[in-house]
Homo-oligomer: 153 residues x 2
Amino acid sequence: MISIAAEQDGRLIQSITSVFTTEEVDCVAELWDEYCQQGAQVSGYYFVVEREDERVRGFACYGPRSLTVGTYDLFWIAVDSECRRAGVGRLLLDWVEEDIHRMGGRLIVVETSGLEKYAPTRRFYLATGYLLEATLKDFYKDGDDLVIFTKHL
Amino acid sequence: MISIAAEQDGRLIQSITSVFTTEEVDCVAELWDEYCQQGAQVSGYYFVVEREDERVRGFACYGPRSLTVGTYDLFWIAVDSECRRAGVGRLLLDWVEEDIHRMGGRLIVVETSGLEKYAPTRRFYLATGYLLEATLKDFYKDGDDLVIFTKHL
């Protein structure tokens, strides 16, 4: 079941970031702090969690891109490694797309890495109707490309 | 002559933004305030101005992209409309590229608009060795695409 993330979910959310680097974990923490302190609308960061009973199985973070009318960044969808292939990512993505649409969003942009460990992530977006728009070589660091996907709602 | 922007240049910089929309002017102002309050290194926004005698003819703003090693955004190069074709943009770009290289930058990313009024901007980047990486349709708003250029240093 998806719900808007509450402050007490913070610790659980930050335990799911197993695929992330230290810098990415810090970045999630930074966005999370702004979300908790200012709320989604002011911070521009929306967090939702997928929960089975009391267990948080995954989360998503998204928000409007500044200087645009109706374009949203989907910053992260992360699913606990023990809950892969259970459709949690898909549940989260469906929620995110509906919520963005409800807020007047027209376009979703996803930026991810070209590293081999993100191949399942890239397949996930291709399988859910996202368009591979660009690959910026060596963007994150040497050998780690930026891959940009979009979906028009 | 190029120099690092000082607090008293703020008013001049903000008078150059004639091609920008209100939202873009606000965004320049926001970055400028952070730069003045925190300095370039902490804010992550570097401002330089090109000056002839006392007159500021143009400015540039750039900074490191978070989560990357050595990738820099070139946020803006703006030249006073009365000083076009005087090579001011080129002077600023050369400085910016050298400064980014000096700081260990490997890759510069430029995001601009696909609107007709930005056609000279796009020609400028193509003429200075930038690669057109992607065009994200209707990114800024309906009919206003995002165009991404890169240059590997």
